[in-house]
């Protein structure tokens, strides 16, 4: 299925993503890694560990509603995979991101801009395996 090339919206959204990450560093001194924020909330060992993460997650979840109020439409979500694939992919994402200590936001945005050597290794690794996975699913198995 074709999707529309959106360089300007994507670049503008990227600027805001970066701004959110910088604001979290300014306010709380933390990197904006979604995996660390989510797992830190799930496995929080103290109330202090939990509450700022819940506030951050709540703010993230309010974003589509804010956009709906401004533009009158919800952000587009087209899910081209089956529920089984969502579950399998989700479990592997959770396992891999916690083992590798980061995902797209933690390694990809925060880590690369800090010039973390671990992120400089992790990002090309997960970009490559994601591309291979999509190729195998769409053009080998499904093709």
């Amino acid at each position: 299925m074709e999707t529309v090339f959106t360089p300007f919206a994507s670049f503008g959204g990227g600027l805001l993503i970066g701004l959110g990450a910088v604001l979290l560093m300014l306010g709380l001194g933390r990197v904006f890694g979604a995996t660390g924020i989510l797992s830190g909330a799930v496995f929080a060992e103290s109330r202090a560990e939990l509450t700022w993460r819940m506030a951050l997650i709540l703010g993230m979840m309010l974003a589509p509603g804010l956009l709906f109020l401004i533009t009158g439409t919800m952000p587009a979500i087209t899910v081209p995979v089956s529920p089984v694939m969502i579950v399998i992919g989700g479990v592997i994402v959770g396992l891999g991101a916690s083992l590798g200590s980061g995902c797209t936001s933690g390694h990809g945005v925060c880590g690369l801009s800090r010039l973390s050597l671990r992120s400089l290794v992790a990002v090309p690794t997960f970009m490559t395996t994601a591309a291979i996975t999509v190729f195998l699913i769409r053009h080998v198995v499904g093709g």
Binding site: F11, G18, L28, C103, T104, F126, I137
Partner: protein, 142 residues
Amino acid sequence: MKHLFACLTGLVFGTGIAISGMMDPAKVLNFFDIAGAWDLSLMFVMGGALIITSLGYRLVWRRAAPLFEQSFQLPTSTALDARLIGGAALFGIGWGIAGFCPGAAIPALGTGRWEVALFLVSVTGGFYLRRLLSPALAKTAT
């Protein structure tokens, strides 16, 4: 104040995710589908975010401390080990299967789509699986 700031920070990040197209699995999977319906948009997301963080982090680090905490808490590990590379490799495979990643799915939950909730519950299941597989590592902060 700290929590209100955290909430607004999340809102800025989430709005960026929503505008950028990152929360649309069709777009994410097409970014990786170089041999098919390739959509390069997400390269621009990464570019925009990195410009801001690369400059902004360095400005913020001129301060002695963040606004609401005593000190900056940056990741300290430097190990390029099997856990990092294997974990990253697995993460990419899962991302390529589902089309969602955690940073996109959390804001996407606000659309009320059940697929997003299913994905995030599965991700949390993956967190627990990691704890089951490696009890010795379970105390390590991620």
